[in-house]
């Protein structure tokens, strides 16, 4: 028996358990790049049109910050940039998959059941890693095949597919290491996603710093980030395959740490010792609100820090964004149409703040759905069997769904204002102005949080549909104007109604209306929750 005995059986078990989830994410991510390529080829068939698009949109610092750098105006190069978020998603799924098949199993005690059979010491970690690696490689090949089928050059297609796959491999390995460190799967996920978040912020800061994303003075930050490597392979724009050695080396180093750690600890234990808690509850933990604070505070803190950093990066890039496109009438016009004011930096700030609003709505949804998660985990029932009314219990979670967006948007507004104010030399003026602009995004986020709450109260089985609504709003906001959708379709998204507070002409009426809608949704949520069965499976 070697340390790897049983790996094959465990891999088959993982494939059996993930037989639905795994093909879905691989196929979903696989079809998107080819569809981007088709869209670009259709919308901008000539080189001149693509060059104009590159100047006006693709090299816009906020786009570069979000998606990654762009290295050329070929259909392929534009597609690579557009698919930048897919690299992030592949990395995210890889971390979660590995943790789910290692630490989650151990925490649930299922690993112990298997450990008693003929199983090598490395088998568990190896099986989870190999399956995730294989999924990424398959994904990369499918992407490359799709791009070739869409008419793009083979070398670039393969390089892009490889870049995405190897980024997934790198983060799968990070997940494998994180799973060795903590006793709880939640902690392992937190560490893995924290590394991913750090990589994203590094790449974002590095890429946003340069005008157009190529060769900015902060670009070294992008080279530090495992998420910055795949785009720097420069698929379709002077390929540099050697860059892809970086994720391979990175994965190897992380694995070299993870494997010895995995055998030096006991089954079920972590490297970081589990901390003992207090033997008695503090005075704050006396009711549903005290409990909700304990359950939500970690996430809220994480989101607040994230929004603060995002605000600093985006605010700091705003002035450069304005300068980068100065003097180009056509772009100025496009930007003005997108953003609503004539000043380019203003348009940029308005655009980034509305993206921030979507993310804040994501926090609100997540906080509201926490109530549902508590219910399905069986933790609502014992509490509702005490002298706590259903209304108070649900309201405690919804309080975070409401206050959370206020906090994170206020912080994002403050840090954006601070960074932008510093770059234009007017902190005293910009800080309150952008704080106000951030807070103006709150009511639209409340509407989505309210919708999630209503689903929890009324249609608990379908409560995760709130995420689909958020995705719909994102699509309407991002491509609705480009697709020239009619106004009523755009009006479906609450974010369409948020006024451009940074401009001069705006009224508070839509904000009041959104707030009233959100309040009605919440009232309905509490009402319907009051009369349903608990738990509803």
């Amino acid at each position: 028996m070697t340390a790897f005995t049983g790996t094959r059986h465990l891999m088959r078990l993982i494939l059996r358990r993930d037989r639905v989830v795994l093909p879905i994410w691989v196929l979903l991510l696989a079809v998107l790049p080819a569809s981007y390529a088709g869209t670009y080829a259709g919308l901008y068939p000539t080189a001149a049109e693509r060059a104009a698009y590159l100047d006006s949109t693709a090299s816009n610092p906020s786009i570069v910050a979000l998606l990654g750098p762009v290295f050329g105006d070929s259909v392929g190069a534009l597609t690579v940039q557009r698919a930048g978020l897919l690299v992030l998603i592949a990395a995210l799924v890889s971390v979660l998959t590995v943790v789910r098949h290692t630490r989650t199993e151990e925490e649930a005690g299922r690993r112990e059941l298997l450990g008693a059979t003929v199983l090598g010491r490395y088998a568990g970690l190896t099986a989870a890693l190999l399956v995730t690696y294989a999924a990424n490689v398959l994904l990369g090949l499918l992407i490359a095949g799709g791009l070739v089928a869409a008419g793009l050059p083979g070398a670039g297609s393969l390089l892009f597919g490889a870049g995405l796959a190897l980024t997934g491999v790198a983060f799968a390995t990070v997940g494998g290491l994180a799973a060795q460190l903590t006793e709880g799967a939640g902690g392992a996920r937190g560490i893995g996603l924290g590394v991913l978040g750090l990589a994203f912020v590094l790449r974002l800061a590095g890429d946003a710093g340069g005008s157009g994303g190529t060769g900015g003075k902060a670009e070294w930050l992008s080279w530090l980030s495992p998420l910055g490597w795949a785009p720097r392979g420069r698929a379709f724009a002077g390929e540099r395959p050697w860059v892809l050695l970086l994720p391979v080396l990175f994965a190897a180093v992380v694995a070299l740490v993870a494997y010895p750690v995995s055998v030096r600890r006991d089954l079920g234990a972590g490297v970081l010792p589990p901390r003992l808690g207090p033997a008695t509850a503090g005075p704050g933990l006396a009711g549903p609100f005290g409990l909700a604070w304990r359950l939500h505070r970690g996430q809220l803190l994480g989101w607040t820090v994230g929004f603060g950093l995002l605000g600093l990066v985006l605010g700091g890039a705003a002035d450069a964004a304005g300068e980068a496109v100065q003097g180009n009438e056509q772009i100025a016009e496009i930007m003005a149409r997108l953003g609503g004011t004539s000043a380019l930096a203003e348009a940029y700030l308005g655009g980034t703040l509305s993206l921030t609003a979507l993310a804040a709505a994501g926090y609100g949804i997540q906080a509201a759905l926490r109530a549902r998660a508590e219910e399905t985990a069986g933790r609502a029932e014992p509490l509702l069997a005490t002298a706590v009314s259903r209304t108070r219990w649900l309201a405690a979670h919804l309080l975070f769904a409401l206050l959370g967006p206020v906090v994170v948007l206020a912080v994002a507004g403050l840090t954006t204002g601070l960074a932008y104010g510093l770059s234009v030399g007017d902190v005293g003026g910009e800080l309150p102005r952008l704080l106000g602009a951030g807070l103006a995004q709150v009511p639209a986020a409340w509407v989505l949080a309210g919708l999630a709450a209503l689903l929890v109260g009324w249609l608990p089985r379908f409560s995760s549909a709130a995420w689909a609504v958020l995705a719909g709003c994102l699509l309407l906001g991002q491509i609705g104007a480009v697709l020239k959708l009619s106004q009523w379709a755009l009006d479906l998204s609450p974010f369409t109604h948020t006024p451009q507070v940074l401009g001069d002409n705006w009224t508070a009426t839509p904000l009041a209306a959104l707030t009233v809608i959100a309040a009605a949704l919440l009232a309905l949520a509490l009402r319907t929750f009051h009369t349903r069965n608990i738990p509803t499976p």
């Binding site: 925490e107 006793e183 709880g184 939640g186 589990p274 901390r275 003992l276 808690g277 207090p278 033997a279 008695t280 509850a281 503090g282 933990l285 006396a286 009711g287 549903p288 005290g290 409990l291 304990r294 359950l295 970690g298 985990a377 069986g378 933790r379 029932e381 014992p382 509490l383 509702l384 069997a385 005490t386 002298a387 706590v388 009314s389 259903r390 009369t531 349903r532 069965n533 608990i534 738990p535």
Partner: protein, 298 residues
């Protein structure tokens, strides 16, 4: 003193499934009442209806003299509940959960809390994720038993406890009874029910099929008879109250209801008896009979 639990004609449907189908359940003040039934019989559904967590379709539910659906908060102040599968928050310590639940019920007795932790050998400083199944149950039990309440509703509370801890549990339930509390104990463990319960209700397919004290239930059981006869075993099968008759030459085996025992024995002596063994079935057989009837039906 009002009846702590009075349920009559309770019906609860989930879609097409009829989880409770006209259930009656009465728990008297100060008694420990056993609530028995196979998996899926509707024990937990009954308890959730008693706690006002489920909306009932028909029937009447009275809990501590009130309506559990409308007066949930006020009634819950007077009871403590332990679910069959206690799930804890991974990042809260056991002690925190005990205090939280206690405070939400309106306070717990700190001296008894300490005594309970000691006798259940529970470390309250561990985080929720670090507890084993049995220790999670202990957290729920300590929180419930340390509360100053009139009624304890325990839904298979000892699943995952070892025999030593089962002893400790029984000790504390007796103490609760001595303090004048009422206990509804849903359980699968017959020894536990025999040791603790004053009265028992057995449910099957959402209906109560038997209720009474343990000695009353013993009257309901059948005695099994095994005999070797001197003549052919005629006429036994026609007797009412004789069940599961098996004849193998001159050897017979059958179960007989208490009311028909006299007639059956008379018939045996008429034929002529060479040897006879009679066995009063255990409580176990009583339950098995109900449980198996369930399996045959499904």
């Amino acid at each position: 003193m009002e009846t702590p639990i009075a349920v009559s004609g309770l019906v609860k449907t989930f879609g097409r499934t009829r989880a409770l189908d006209g259930l009656d359940l009465t728990v008297r003040a100060g008694e420990v009442h056993g609530f028995l039934g196979p998996n899926g019989a509707g024990k937990s559904t009954t308890i959730r209806a008693l706690l006002g967590l489920l909306r009932t379709d028909a029937g009447d539910v009275r809990l501590l003299g009130g309506d559990p659906w409308h007066d949930a908060v006020a009634l819950h102040r007077r009871l403590a509940y332990v679910p069959g599968d206690v799930t804890l928050w991974p990042n809260l310590s056991g002690g925190e959960v005990i205090d939280l639940l206690g405070r939400m019920r309106g306070g717990l007795d700190p001296a008894r809390r300490a005594e309970l932790l000691d006798s259940f050998e529970l470390d309250p400083r561990k985080k929720g994720r670090a507890y084993s199944k049995g220790n999670r149950q202990k957290v729920g039990l300590v929180a419930a038993l340390a509360s100053d309440v009139e009624l304890l509703i325990l839904d298979e509370p000892t699943s995952g406890l070892d025999p030593l801890m089962e002893e400790v549990f029984q000790h504390w339930v007796r103490r609760a009874k001595d303090d004048g509390r009422t206990v509804l104990l849903s359980s699968h463990i017959l020894a536990e029910v025999e040791a603790l319960c004053d009265r028992v209700t057995i449910i099957r397919n959402g209906r109560d099929v038997e209720t009474g004290t343990l000695s009353e239930l013993r009257h309901l059981r059948r005695t099994s008879i095994e005999a070797e006869l001197t003549g052919p075993a005629d006429g036994l099968g026609q007797l009412t109250g004789v069940h599961d008759l098996r004849v193998d030459g001159q050897r017979v085996r059958f179960d007989v209801e208490d009311v028909a025992l006299d007639v059956a024995l008379r018939r045996l002596t008429e034929i002529g008896v060479r040897s006879l063994v009679s066995q009063p079935p255990t409580l176990e057989e009583l339950f098995l009979r109900h449980y198996q009837a369930e399996q045959v039906r499904s």
